[in-house]
């Protein structure tokens, strides 16, 4: 995979000018963020399809070239900030549930996926949310994704229940469909924006070891074409 070289390329040429770390020029500065996003959800809820649709924009398994979907990276530009998203898939089987904390420690965001036709998978999401809140408090941005929204007729998790629960725990709720490519881009974009806000908030506190690498850099004189989602 090209993940190793990615970070370096992204920041090359960052220090072309003088080191200007003056405080008041926020607008002119481009920042680079790298976020870790964990993907939680029971098996068969479509985690893999969701992330592959996002990163590769492909659904049918025959068309997908990547060998693996367990660790994927995508670079996007969000309001002038360069963001590298590292998406960590987790094993959703019940027997691996106890390993959750190892996966999601130091993560900036979590996407909790459930299947709208499967009530159990939603209950599982509730358990994870509880765990995440306990382990990471409010440091982590949560998004709940009701996947397989194309199977509306077989829905067993009611809209009100899901949305009210998400609002209660401070998560954003999305209905997604990996099959129809519905709402997935929006989901990741929203999560990224949230993560940027929250990391800027924690950065001011400067507590202990940072797990986000924030590199300040001056805006290059001629701004590069900010095509969204291009990853070389």
């Amino acid at each position: 995979m090209d993940s190793a070289g990615g970070g370096g390329d992204e920041r090359s040429g960052a220090f072309e000018g003088d080191d200007a770390s003056g405080g008041g020029q926020q607008q002119q500065q481009t920042r680079s963020f790298s976020f870790k996003v964990v993907l939680l959800g029971e098996g068969c809820v479509g985690k893999t399809s969701l992330v592959l649709r996002y990163v590769e924009d492909k659904f049918n398994e025959r068309h997908i070239s990547t060998v693996q979907a367990s660790f994927l990276q995508k670079k996007i530009n969000v309001s002038g900030n360069r963001v590298t998203q590292a998406i960590w898939d987790t094993a959703g089987q019940e027997k691996f549930h106890a390993l959750g904390p190892i996966y999601y420690r130091h993560s900036n965001g979590a996407i909790l996926v459930y299947d709208i036709t499967d009530k159990d998978s939603f209950e599982k999401v509730k358990i994870w949310v509880k765990e995440l809140k306990k382990m990471l408090g409010n440091e982590i941005c949560l998004c709940i994704a009701g996947n397989k929204s194309d199977l509306e007729r077989e829905r067993t998790v009611s809209t009100e229940e899901a949305e009210s629960y998400a609002a209660m725990v401070g998560a954003t709720h999305f209905y997604t469909s990996a099959k129809l490519n519905h709402n997935i881009e929006e989901l990741f974009l929203h999560l990224t924006e949230q993560m940027i806000t929250s990391s800027l908030g924690t950065e001011r506190k400067q507590t202990g070891r940072r797990n986000v690498v924030v590199v300040e850099q001056e805006q290059p004189p001629s701004p590069r074409p900010t095509s969204k989602g291009c990853c070389g």
């Binding site: 220090f15 080191d19 870790k36 398994e61 190892i102």
Partner: protein, 669 residues
């Protein structure tokens, strides 16, 4: 106890030594008795080849003793001159510039080398029949000079991984680079050189700063390691703080801004490498501090050993182990994870984990034909770790966590795979019967070795058994296909029979309805002959026909045109003749042919009338062929009408009948 050892011996491959021999000679030399795996000190624990045949506890003691010895050597006066007299390395270094051949000849002549060659030979011999540690051999072999021993030690431990291929020449050429002490120093030297060459391209200011900072940190870490009661976590904090601060400095301080971002990354990597290599002994599962890494290693190793019976099925691993290529990938991943212990810098350890993971992903990709998700990956990694049983796994993980640059560890692919490895260790430690979907009693039985489940490594060992199984599978498949074929043949036969019956029934029905009689083709009768032979004696003499000549005959025919030469198509006359039979009978009364002809004509007339009715019946009976029947009926009636006009022959109707029949048949198909 005995059973446990037997168990261990059976599942030998989880030991490094055996696993590497799998990859070398698949299935050939895999029987290793339990005794060979034991620690050389006979302390009752298992030994390890990487630890020169000792268990980890004994190895530590042994290493300490060795270190002590080496310190004595170091303290003894040893300037270059004395080495030139005694030391082989010094001699070789003196000849470092001369061509290899000359050096070789020198080597073969020099007296220390003869002993050395003997040692080499012994070593090769040893490696040939049993991959034991060379330590014992070395002790037995006579050493000509005391100063040579550390060098040899270094050589032997360095050469160990590829012992079989090493030659005196190779040794001779590699030794000048070595410092006369431990291999660690060699690596340290190498990384120092690497860092120096890297720094050469930058301004002096940077070089100076880097060197000063790194030296400071090194000294600090060394001091911390020497202080007893210093928790390893604190040492780790020192290192991590240094990484972070230095990274911040590199990013912020103006003089570093001439470096590109890539170079900065590389610099950080090199510094990390240098620190961890130079202080590896102190930092890796330190003894003088309050860690219990050693005990954890032992516990984990025993735990994995007791789980060596686990197969793909237990963990729902989807590896297709029957595939040769998949098995190759599995071996490669096992080798990669075992290799983690033999490299020193955390980055390289991470690289081993990443390589192992990539091999696994490739194997999974071949087994499944779909992108691998964590749902498949994690169980497989567990399986691989159980089969590999990597040496000092816990210590290695702790070492990486403590001394790898934290910012790197938390992001990127290697971080992900490392996290997965941590998950695997945690899972293995907490494994219960439930997690393998079996009862607790069953699980306990397996773990304690009371019961041994079948075929944990069978897919890898018994090549012929495996191919036999493959063949029998093929045979089963062929048999099922054969059965299918036979069944299809039966069905076809039955169908054909039914068809035949049906056709014959249909034919019978039609035949009953319209009995088929064949009429011979009419032969034109020679009126003259007839007249001549039969004659009408009743006729008066002048009326009696008399053959005069051919011409006359022709003339004679004119009035006798009534019965013309009958052709199948012109039945006009016959139809008429049937209506005025007496006349025709009068005309050609005694001709047998004619009689049959008229009979057929009448019959055919009857059938001509009947056909439409019959067709109607057919139509009602057979709905499937309704359209065709209808159309054929239409055409038939048309033809019938035209036949009435043109007075179609009975043969035509027969033909039509046949046509209807065949069409009905076609429709029924």
């Amino acid at each position: 106890m005995n059973s446990q050892y037997g168990h261990g011996g059976r599942g030998g491959p989880y030991n490094n030594q055996a696993a590497s021999s799998i990859s070398h000679s698949r299935g050939s030399k895999l029987k290793i008795s339990a005794q060979d795996l034991m620690c050389k000190n006979n302390c009752g624990h298992y030994g390890n080849e990487v630890q020169e045949g000792y268990c980890s506890v004994c190895y530590k003691l042994y290493k300490q003793q060795q270190q002590l010895r080496q310190q004595q050597y170091a303290e003894s006066p040893r300037d270059n001159d004395s080495f030139n007299i005694f030391g082989r390395s010094a001699i070789s270094s003196g000849f470092a510039t001369i061509p290899k051949a000359a050096k070789l000849s020198f080597d073969s002549l020099s007296s220390p080398l003869s002993g050395f060659a003997k040692f080499e030979e012994k070593k090769r011999h040893q490696a040939g029949h049993k991959s034991k540690s060379f330590r014992s051999v070395f002790r037995k072999s006579p050493t000509p000079s005391p100063s040579k021993s550390p060098d040899l030690k270094a050589t032997s431990s360095k050469e160990r991984p590829s012992s079989a291929s090493s030659t005196p020449n190779h040794l001779g050429s590699s030794s000048p680079k070595m410092s006369p002490q431990r291999p660690q120093d060699t690596e340290k030297e190498q990384i120092r050189n690497e860092i120096n060459t890297f720094l050469l391209q930058f301004p002096k200011q940077i070089v100076h700063d880097v060197v000063v900072k790194v030296k400071q940190c090194e000294a600090e870490l060394t001091r911390a390691c020497r202080t007893s009661n210093m928790a390893v976590e604190e040492i780790s904090d020192i290192a991590q703080d240094f990484y972070r601060n230095f990274k911040g400095k590199v990013d912020m301080v103006p003089c570093y801004q001439s470096m590109t971002a890539d170079d900065k990354e590389l610099l950080m990597d090199l510094i990390e490498k240098y620190l961890t290599i130079s202080l590896y002994k102190e930092l890796f599962s330190p003894i003088n501090t309050t860690t219990d890494d050693e005990d954890k290693d032992l516990l984990l190793q025993n735990r994995i050993r007791s789980l060596n019976w686990i197969t793909c099925k237990h963990l729902d691993v989807i590896l297709n182990e029957r595939d040769q290529q998949v098995r190759d990938y599995v071996f490669q991943s096992i080798n990669a994870i075992i290799g983690m212990d033999s490299v020193k810098p955390p980055q390289e350890k991470l690289l081993c984990i990443t390589q192992c993971s990539h091999r696994i992903l490739e194997a999974l990709g071949m087994s499944k034909q779909a992108p691998t998700s964590a749902d498949d990956f994690l169980p497989t990694l567990i399986y691989i770790v159980i089969k590999a049983n990597p040496t000092r796994l816990q210590s290695n993980i702790n070492f990486i966590t403590r001394f790898c640059n934290a910012s790197r560890l938390m992001s990127g692919e290697s971080g992900y795979f490392f996290t997965n490895l941590c998950c695997v260790v945690s899972f293995i430690q907490n494994m219960k019967g439930e997690s393998l979907s079996m009862t607790e009693e069953e699980f306990e039985d397996y773990v304690s070795g009371r019961t041994i489940p079948s075929e944990s490594w069978d897919n890898y060992f018994s090549e012929s058994l495996h191919s036999m199984e493959e063949m029998s599978n093929d045979l089963i498949e062929m048999k099922s296909r054969h059965d299918d074929f036979i069944r299809n043949v039966d069905v076809l036969r039955k169908n054909m029979q039914q068809k035949q019956e049906w056709v014959s029934k249909q034919v019978n029905v039609i035949l009953k309805r319209t009995p088929l009689t064949f009429k011979l083709r009419k032969v034109p009768t020679n009126i003259d002959d007839e007249d001549v032979c039969s004659s009408q004696p009743s006729l008066p003499a002048p009326l009696q026909p008399v053959v005069i000549s051919k011409l006359v005959k022709d003339v004679n025919l004119e009035p006798n045109k009534e019965p013309p030469p009958v052709t199948p198509t012109s039945t006009t006359t016959e139809l008429r003749s049937s209506s005025d039979r007496p006349n025709s009978e009068d005309n050609c009364s005694n001709s047998n042919q004619d009689i049959t002809a008229t009979e057929i004509q009448s019959a055919s007339q009857k059938s001509e009338i009947e056909i439409p009715v019959a067709l109607e019946q057919e139509e009602s009976r057979d709905i499937r062929g309704a359209d065709q029947v209808l159309s054929s009926q239409m055409s038939l009636t048309d033809e019938f009408l035209s036949a009435e006009e043109k007075s179609g022959s009975e043969e035509e109707t027969f033909y039509n009948e046949k046509k209807v029949e065949s069409e009905a048949e076609k429709s029924s198909e």
